[in-house]
């Protein structure tokens, strides 16, 4: 029998439906892979019972001749930013040590309602702040990929959804949830040779998702291919009255709408994304992507997004400002860690708890946010950044007059080694140079694998779409996927 853990979401769903195998066999296969992959440190909590219960429910429904749910028999990984009832949820931070949510996030509840089971909670950058998964309080996630130079350097799986990307690439789960504030789904997907989509802001409810920067945070799926992303996104999305920014719109049938025929579509190439020092391999892959989309029938047009270079610094005002407000709730009173030094008063307790509980990068961002919001600086920093955000969104609106989607590289490099950039915050921030602008504008965007670099590491291509046009993004992604024929995978060493 074939190894069921080589199957993706659609193949598992279909195989369980037509009786080629049982959901229990699938769940057991992935559970075994998870428990044999401790070296990757992708999971913070393993929940085999949850996965098996969902699998047994799927098998029982089939035995009774019932119509199976959309994700019946599919076990997935859950990023630890989503609150899961009765299962420890920490956002990979010590400050939430031992936090056991008494409720379920809307996105995870939607997935369980669709029949999916949970293999466990996935490691991540602490509070989703990071691009390499090195800020987790529970240790780095190690990418399953290695360079082909025989050096065996431990590589970053990307971040912040690094547990998700590593787990999918290593076949520990066929799909996982991610969240994307400035690129946290797309960059890790690119680093590990998988696909991931951030939908339009408001498609997926933020209720029960631990907040980082509320005007940017958006959940989305990560999986091995475009179809699997479409299936997962369909299950995760939908209006939720508990989130004030949730979009009250029907969820399109994205999987049914998949088509890689791009005749009549115009693909924009933003000239400002040709940044200085872009590695020739990234530039070559970008050109290859242009050729692939032409081959799929699309017309290629050059467009200009003049404020692109200001997106990243604007993001590093807006996101920390929102984070400093959101993370004010961690006070040692209501949940998580409390550090109460001998003889300390209430204020001392707050300060000691937060000093002890937050990691360095989280502190850095809270401090930046506090600074830019403080009296005398608010207008110069926060208001100015919010105005530039308007200009960035306007750039995209003007581009949509000329094209239907944009094609860019996902990240400016392949995966780097752990430790390589962690001493220089700005070098780390620059990883998100191609993903942040679309986050600031709330646009749907996805990364699909395009090829390998000279060291045998995956590189990703990004498609950015108009608001609410996830279908256009998925379809262009599918056209790339069919032509890239990306089948490389990390050789097992763990």
């Amino acid at each position: 029998m074939t190894d069921l853990t080589n199957l993706g979401v659609a193949a598992i769903r279909d195989g369980v439906r037509n009786g080629s195998f049982t959901a229990r066999e699938v769940a057991e296969g992935f559970i075994a892979n998870v428990s044999a992959a401790k070296a990757l440190n992708a999971f913070l909590v393993e929940t085999p019972d949850h996965a098996l219960a969902a699998a047994d429910a799927a098998d029982a429904a089939r035995a009774k001749g019932e119509t199976l749910k959309p994700l019946a028999g599919v076990p997935i990984g859950m990023k630890d930013l989503f609150c899961t009832k009765g299962v420890t949820t920490t956002a990979a931070s010590h400050i939430l040590a031992g936090f056991t949510p008494p409720y379920e996030s809307t996105v995870s509840a939607n997935l369980w309602d669709a029949g999916a089971g949970m293999l466990g909670k996935l490691n991540m950058d602490q509070f989703a702040m990071g691009s390499s998964n090195e800020t987790s309080a529970f240790g780095n996630v190690i990418s399953p990929w290695r360079r082909n130079d025989g050096g065996n350097a431990a590589l970053a799986p990307g971040g912040s959804s690094g547990g998700s990307s590593a787990a999918i690439a290593a076949r520990l789960c066929p799909a996982a949830t991610g969240t994307d504030t400035g690129g946290s789904i797309r960059q890790p997907a690119a680093f590990t040779g998988i696909s991931g989509i951030k939908p339009t802001y408001g498609r997926c409810s933020r209720w029960g998702t631990i907040a980082f920067a509320s005007s940017l945070d958006q959940a989305g799926p990560m999986a091995r291919d475009v179809r699997d992303c479409a299936i997962m996104l369909g299950a995760m999305s939908g209006f939720d009255a508990k989130d004030a920014t949730s979009l009250d719109l029907p969820v399109p049938a994205w999987e049914a709408g998949l088509s890689s025929d791009l005749k009549g579509k115009r693909v924009g190439i933003p000239k400002e994304y040709r940044v200085d020092n872009m590695p020739p391999e990234i530039e070559a892959l970008w050109q290859q992507g242009i050729d692939w989309l032409k081959d799929a029938g699309a017309e290629i047009v050059e467009v200009s997004l003049p404020h692109t270079k200001y997106a990243l610094p604007a993001y590093y005002i807006i996101a920390p400002a929102e984070a400093s407000s959101n993370l004010a709730r961690y006070d040692g009173v209501r949940y998580g860690l409390r550090d109460l030094p001998e003889g300390a008063n209430l204020q001392d307790m707050y300060a000691a708890t937060r000093a002890d509980g937050f990691g360095d990068e989280v502190k850095r961002r809270i401090m930046i946010g506090t600074y830019v919001l403080s009296a005398g600086y608010y207008d110069a920093y926060f208001t100015q950044a919010s105005k530039i955000r308007t200009l960035i969104a306007r750039d995209f609106e003007q581009a949509w007059a000329k094209c239907d989607v944009l094609l860019t590289p996902t990240a400016p490099s392949a995966a780097f080694a752990l430790g390589e950039k962690s001493a220089d915050p700005i070098a780390m921030y620059l990883n998100d140079v191609f993903t942040v602008p679309s986050s600031l504008a709330g646009l749907p965007a996805m990364s699909v694998p395009g090829g390998l670099d000279h060291a045998g590491l995956p590189l990703g291509l990004q498609i950015i779409g108009k608001p609410l046009d996830e279908q256009g993004v998925l379809n262009a992604g599918l056209a790339l996927e069919e032509r890239a024929g990306f089948t490389a995978r990390a050789e097992r060493w763990w």
Partner: protein, 100 residues
């Protein structure tokens, strides 16, 4: 405008994060570097540009003006609210004494 050790100490106090003098000395150049990089935003002419307030046009809704319109966000769940508290007594969160 440079970020000094004194600035860092003040921000840390506003953010309720305890830091030592050594940490403040380490963070000052780091934050100064980041703020220096961010400074380029001041070169953008934003005259007449409104700050973004909603990333995707959306209208604000009002929920029904009734108690427990949604049981998940409603009341009557004191024990669940207190379940994760580091310290809770008699149905309340407890903190160090604040009045002498």
């Amino acid at each position: 405008m440079s970020v000094t050790i004194a600035t860092v100490t003040k921000i840390a106090s506003l953010a309720r994060i305890a830091i030592t003098k050594e940490e403040a000395a380490r963070m000052a150049p780091e934050l100064d570097n980041i703020m220096g990089w961010i400074e380029q935003l001041s070169e953008v002419d934003t005259t007449g540009v409104a700050p973004m307030t909603a990333v995707i046009p959306n209208h604000l809704r009002l929920r029904d003006d009734v108690v427990n319109a949604d049981p998940l966000t409603g009341g009557g769940i004191r024990d669940a609210v207190l379940a994760n508290a580091p310290q809770a007594e008699h149905g309340f969160f407890t903190v160090p004494k604040v009045i002498e």
